[in-house]
């Protein structure tokens, strides 16, 4: 009885250890169950963290004996060797290839039972032949070339002229961003602004952000924003940018100004291919404010909404002129402020512009 029970305990122990390790979160962190012998052998771990050899090796032997016992009971086998395999899920009854999918080898040791001889020798085989100093630069180069590259781009999302349908002055908008870095950590800058041709710049801002991936599709971004117009003002920025389900590109951020004002902005857009080169892009931008900001003619609440539709033609993916329409409406208190000043709080604009990247 005891002979059977002990191996089962030994088998379950590494699994528990792995569960714990799964939360460790460091990319290079190997799971203890799979890698502990390795690190001990190479002297990475202090001796007290290493299981005594005389205990570790019999344990591996025990695994074998456990398997052999378990062979009598196929379901036990699956639990010990196939623990997390999706193919052992109850989906098998859907399968047309039922018998072919189970390719487990009865009696084989689990992945973590690395034989001790596989841990012998120096860290890198080639050092024995060519010397560590000859190999080190090429190893660094190899890592750089296979996963370590950094890159970047500059994207001009919108560079457009805006013609009000009610006959006002033609304006312009730019909206650009760029990034440089690796897959997960990047430096991001953004800039946008607008004005009327022949008059002074109305709004202009620039943001410098550190961006870190928080999931496969989203980055968390934090940094500073500086407004050049309508007046010099600095903000702390925190936001998220990425690809939401159903392929919506979203970019949302909260801004805390050096005056203590809290505002937010959310942009969403979607690319619908009409043909491989002709793309219809619905886009919406929302602005919010937590408080009245009289000097900017903003009232607390939802301050502005801008839904638009752009139709671009990608001569190349990098160069795509477009035409479009956009409705721009001030809302709530902000709209009231505009009306009181004799301005029209909303209006429809025709757009001609360029989307480009480098």
């Amino acid at each position: 009885m005891r002979v059977v029970a002990l191996p089962l305990v030994l088998l379950s122990a590494p699994l528990a250890a792995q569960d714990h390790a799964g939360h460790a979160g460091h990319s290079a962190e190997p799971t203890p169950a799979a890698q502990e012998p390795d690190h001990c052998a190479m002297g990475h771990l202090p001796p007290e963290k290493c299981p005594p050899k005389s205990e570790a090796e019999p344990a591996a032997e025990m695994d074998h004996s456990a398997m052999n016992h378990a062979q009598m009971d196929q379901s036990e086998m699956d639990h010990s060797t196939m623990d997390h395999s999706a193919t052992s899920q109850p989906s098998v009854d859907h399968s047309a290839h039922g018998a072919m999918t189970d390719k487990s080898a009865p009696g084989a040791a689990p992945e973590s039972a690395v034989p001790p001889r596989a841990l012998e020798g120096p860290r890198h085989a080639a050092d024995l032949i060519w010397g560590e100093s000859a190999m080190a630069p090429s190893r660094a180069q190899l890592a750089h070339e296979n996963g370590g590259m950094k890159t970047g781009m500059i994207m001009l999302e919108r560079l457009e002229a805006r013609v009000p349908t009610d006959g006002g002055d033609t304006g312009y908008v730019w909206d650009a961003q760029g990034w440089y870095g690796g897959d997960l950590n990047r430096f991001v800058f953004k800039s946008e602004g607008e004005g009327v041709f022949g008059a002074e710049l109305e709004d202009a801002e620039i943001q410098a952000l550190y961006s870190r991936a928080i999931g496969p599709f989203f980055d968390l971004q934090a940094g500073v924003r500086y407004d050049i117009e309508p007046d010099s003002r600095a903000h702390a920025v925190i936001g998220v940018q990425g690809l939401a389900p159903y392929m919506f590109h979203v970019d949302g951020a909260v801004f805390l100004s050096d005056q203590g004002d809290l505002t937010a902005r959310i942009e969403g857009e979607y690319d619908q291919k009409i043909t491989q080169r002709l793309i219809l892009q619905p886009r919406v931008e929302l602005e919010l404010s937590a408080q009245d900001i009289p000097e900017r003619e903003i009232g607390a609440g939802l301050t502005k909404v801008e839904p638009g539709l752009r139709l671009r033609y990608e001569f190349t993916p990098e160069f795509a002129p477009y035409v479009g329409v956009e409705y721009e409406a001030k809302l709530g208190v902000t709209a009231d402020i505009a009306k009181a000043a004799g301005e029209d709080p909303d209006g429809l604009k025709l757009l001609v512009g360029l989307r480009a990247w480098f």
Binding site: G22, T31, H84, S91, A109, A125, L142, A143, E145
Partner: protein, 562 residues
Amino acid sequence: MQINRRRFITSTAGLAAATSLSMPTWAKGGSLTHAKRGFGEVSGEDIRLAIANHHFMTGGRSGHAVAVNGTVPGPLVRLREGQNVKLHVTNHLEEDSSIHWHGLLVPFQFDGVPGVSFPGIKPGETFTYEFPIRQSGTYWWHSHSGLQEQAGHYGPIVVESAEPDPRYDRDYVVLLSEFTPIHPHQIMRKLKVGEHYFNRQMQTATDGDMSGEMRRMWGEMRMNPRDISDVTGTTYTYLINGHGPADDLQLEFQPGERVRLRVINGSAMTFFNVRIPGVPMTVIQADGQDVADVEVDEFQIGVAETYDVIVTPPAGSHALVAEAMDRSGMGVTSLTSHKGHIATPPALREPVTLSMTDMGMMDHSAHGGGGSMDHSMRDKSAVPDDVKVGPGVDMIAPMPMDRMDFPGLGLETVKHRVLRYTDLKAKRMNPHRTVDREMEIHLTGNMERYMWSFDGKKFTAVTDDPIRFGFDERVRVKLVNDTMMAHPIHLHGHFFELVNGADHMHQPLKHTVVVQPGGNATFDLTANEPGDWAFHCHLLFHMHAGMMQVVTVRPFPAPGEA
């Protein structure tokens, strides 16, 4: 007609100094049996290869190339089983270079991977590889430095067997590859920053017969059902023996001859569907290793794989077509018994759309049911704990099935016979071994960020953490593809046996195995070549993004014995 397959040619002096970018004889369609013209073929015990920058042109496209001995592809290296060879490789580039002998069993220090097997070849240096030839078959060589392989730094290897091979009368290499006028580093950047930059076969509002429900499901997952190939015919011209479709390459034969075609996929990123309409092909080798004859009408060849087929075409001109898996272009040559006759190739077939099975789900739609959307596509409990499910993993196949019976994307519905891994049986018996240990490796990625990895960890995260095998250990390795792309996984220095349903003494030997989207492939490896070896996806830009790890087989022999 004099046909002397066994003839050997000593290496041609001056090849190393060749500067013009002419086509080698073998690439022009000269039968390998007529190797007396010699230029572009190197053989013997002392072989010189020189790597240098050149210009290359095909069709309307031209651009930079890295050529070896002045040609793209480089010369055919012809060897004989049992000989010893010294290969003196001179690097005339301004960056490090290397040559990896893909499929040859060599001591690890001559395997040619900078940073794993040796320090690389510095600009201006000559490095000498030296090893005995322990095998026969069709292989190839290529750079393992940076992205030089994409630029033309590759070529074929033919190893004659020690015993005469009576299976064929005429012998051609058919080396498939791509040419792009864009610098490979620019391709990599566009893949990283531009959403599906090279794909001009995306689903549009009106095309395709996918239901609205299915479109929403793909959209919900943020996946693209036309994600077949990362780099396509929008920039690639597909080459056969260095010839684009506009170059009218001809391979001549006499009616009645048994023609051996040594098909090598030496491309960087392209799976090809190979067929000769009207001419059946008998597969006799896979990855240089003999298999029991299988007659097919078409086969898909993954990057870095080789298949040798025998054809006996009737008199006339036959198009040998290598259609890119995503159907964005093709390589073409004419197999002709009338010199000068160019065969008309068939049209490209319809673009391929991925299915639920390619996402690692059961295809419920085939059963008329619609309730399959409840599967989580990123359920961490579906992978072992050593898989790091971070931002680099955008999908976990919820129910990955063994897909070694799958003929390849787009070929599951064609009416004729298509090769499947399950058709392959080793011709000679493998040693009887029981499996000592089992291992599961997940192929992971994030298409939006263009990150690729094993077990969620890029090469940069595991540079000092190799996959460990004991010398002579027999390990069953299950590769689980948690992505929607097919990955050709290559282990250096070894042949593994596909666990494909063949009896366990006749499992076919391979150096590269394609793991189909959302599915599994399993192989048995006897780790009997000590040293450190590269293990990676052979899609060049996937490897470059991190889909690579070192495999170490220990103990190493003492330096004196090596």
